[in-house]
């Protein structure tokens, strides 16, 4: 085995000089950075859209709850129509309105105070 040991130690493969090797690697890393930046941008965009949607939902939910509790309507006096149907719906389900509002508030809070992970 001594001969094979010596043979291997004396005949290490020789790599040819490749001056562009590091440059190519750098170029690929720049491409990786470009992809990372794009992914981060899309992530930020999605996060912002979600925050806006939740904030809008929360505001409307609070408004609807306030209307339902502050201005109770008598269901028997309501006639047909879209507006009347909405009022009737709020009147019927007003004790449950706080649930989705609270859920949206919690989701919004989590989203705003959690660390950004990109």
């Amino acid at each position: 085995m001594k001969e094979i040991d010596d043979f291997l130690r004396e005949n290490k493969p020789q790599v040819k000089d490749n001056p562009t090797f590091i440059l190519e690697a750098q170029q690929r890393m720049e491409e990786v950075e470009g992809i990372r930046a794009e992914v981060e941008r899309q992530h930020r965009h999605g996060r912002r859209a979600l925050i806006i949607a939740l904030a809008a939902g929360l505001s409307l939910g609070v408004l609807a709850t306030a209307v339902a509790f502050l201005y109770p309507v008598d269901a028997s006096t309501l006639s047909q129509g879209v507006g009347q149907s909405v009022l009737l719906f709020l009147e019927t389900w007003r004790q449950y309105l706080l649930l989705p509002v609270a859920l949206m508030g919690i989701a919004l809070g989590l989203l705003l105070f959690s660390r950004k992970k990109v």
């Binding site: 094979i4 130690r9 493969p13 020789q14 690697a25 750098q26």
Partner: protein, 159 residues
């Protein structure tokens, strides 16, 4: 890790890394460099997870070895790795060229683990412990692979 820091570390390791992959690719320099580039991209993407628990070169070689394994699984029959060695012998019929031809032909016949263990131990002068970390196998297994690799090489190399 910043890109500049990563590049500076890679600059110091590029020659050993390329030589290791050249041995794994049995003398196919273009393929070895391609795999090295892939390995560097993978390493760069994962550089945030490098905790410094091992040496940077050990970590990089491990990634390069995994890249080589992935590549060889994907494109096994495609290569004619000995070609370059034969060209080398054809253009320069020196004794050295003949020995490289013999070496690459012999390496090409070895299983991947034996080839990697031989390359790291003899060409990169790595310790058994480092080889164990790079190849992800126990030190006893590395010694076994080295022993088997030597035996197999002896069958294919005329000394």
């Amino acid at each position: 890790m910043t890109q500049e820091r990563f590049i500076s570390l890679v600059r110091a390791e590029q020659e050993p890394l390329r030589r290791f992959l050249l041995a794994l690719c049995s003398g196919n320099a273009a393929l070895a460099d391609d795999i090295a580039q892939d390995a560097l991209v993978r390493a760069y993407v994962a550089s945030g997870s490098f905790l410094g628990l091992s040496k940077f070169s050990t970590w990089l070689f491990r990634i390069a070895y995994n890249c080589y394994i992935d590549h060889s699984r994907k494109a096994r029959p495609e290569q004619a790795p000995v070609e370059e060695a034969l060209n080398l012998a054809g253009s320069d019929a020196s004794d050295k060229a003949f020995r490289y031809q013999q070496l690459y032909l012999a390496l090409d016949k070895l299983p991947e683990k034996e080839k990697a263990a031989i390359a790291l131990f003899y060409f990169e002068d790595r310790s058994i412990k480092e080889i164990s970390a790079i190849l992800g196998m126990p030190q006893g297994t590395v010694k076994y692979e080295l022993s088997m690799g030597r035996q197999h090489l002896k069958q294919h190399i005329q000394l």
